[in-house]
């Protein structure tokens, strides 16, 4: 176990928590899903986001042991566990993003630190700095085509791919975990901007927000 001081960012006391989208839902509107909706937007709130940095081989061993998922070694790769609830995404040659359900991040971080011991690595809990949005429906690809500079055509953006790119005037981590679903990891400070952009871009597809 390393000497790094860690702490669970989730308070033990029963305090009200709000995601970055809470403000947006209250202030920027949330059109309901209708039979006409060709795109559905939803937030996967309060997930645990960890950034892993270090050598691929060392991290891979620890991640496989603790999480049971392979660390994607190929650029732009995204791997999920069987439930689809936990994922590891390649961000750069020495950087990966791990997303796990609410409440698992600290336990995971502790287990990884124990496994990695004295190896040269870094783990940062960035759960509070970003949130996960989902786009689903036949119009989702077209909404993204209006929003990101990356080629999201299904022939180029295959399932199991994830990239960091430009979304309107912000940046986004864009992932495609399944045929029908797209995930956007957005920064907290850009969450409302991204949300309002998506509502505007999705208007012609009768975008609906699931809450």
């Amino acid at each position: 176990m390393s000497k790094v001081a860690t702490f669970d960012t989730r308070a033990e006391a029963d305090l009200p928590v709000a995601t970055p989208m809470a403000y947006s839902f209250a202030h920027s509107g949330a059109p309901a899903v209708t039979p006409q909706s060709r795109v559905v937007l939803r937030e996967r709130p309060l997930q645990g986001h960890l950034i892993l940095r270090g050598g691929a081989i060392v991290l891979d061993e620890a991640v496989r042991k603790v999480l049971g998922i392979n660390l994607p070694g190929e650029p732009q790769a995204l791997t999920l566990d069987e439930s689809g609830q936990r994922s590891v995404q390649w961000l750069s040659p020495d950087e990966w993003l791990v997303i796990v359900p609410d409440g698992e991040a600290f336990e995971l971080e502790t287990a990884l630190r124990h496994e990695l011991a004295d190896a040269h690595y870094a783990i940062s809990d960035v759960s509070g700095g970003q949130t996960l949005l989902e786009l689903e429906g036949e119009g989702a690809t077209e909404v993204l085509m209006k929003s990101v500079i990356y080629d999201v055509h299904p022939s180029h953006f295959k399932v199991g791919k994830g990239v960091t790119t430009v979304f309107a005037k912000a940046t986004v981590i864009l992932r495609r975990p399944s045929e029908t679903r797209w995930e956007l990891v957005v920064r907290r400070s850009f969450a409302d901007y991204t949300y309002r952009w998506l509502l505007d871009a999705g208007d012609e597809f009768a975008i609906g927000v699931e809450r």
Partner: protein, 113 residues
């Protein structure tokens, strides 16, 4: 608009994701205390501005955020290659001069671009 190959992401990306970061392969004087003011000044402030092949650093700012090297022709703006940090360029002013017939042909190409 450039479409730039990031040697870390291993694919072509739009220019908007990148930032240029100036001349590449600048070596810091090994012992700054021992070098002359002129050597230090050259290292700190003076950059090449060639008409032709130039090696630059770029950063994939909105992507993997890694720095890498770009060999670019300053007349035609053509990117001749990109390669990782720590690697040596395979395309240089000398290698281009050896393969192209006349400097004029390169220049004309630049005018068209």
């Amino acid at each position: 608009m450039f479409i730039i190959y990031c040697p870390y992401c291993c694919e072509y990306r739009e220019e908007e994701e990148f930032h240029p970061k100036g001349q590449a392969h600048i070596e810091r004087p090994k012992d700054p205390e021992a070098c002359s003011d002129e050597e230090w000044g050259d290292y700190l402030f003076f950059r090449d501005n060639p008409r032709g092949v130039h090696h630059e650093m770029w950063v994939h700012a909105a992507g993997c955020r890694k720095f890498f090297n770009v060999t670019r022709h300053t007349v035609s703006y053509k990117i001749l290659e990109t390669y990782k940090m720590g690697e040596k360029p395979s395309v240089t002013a000398e290698s281009v001069a050896a393969t192209t017939a006349t400097p004029e042909s390169v220049q004309k190409e630049g005018v068209r671009a």
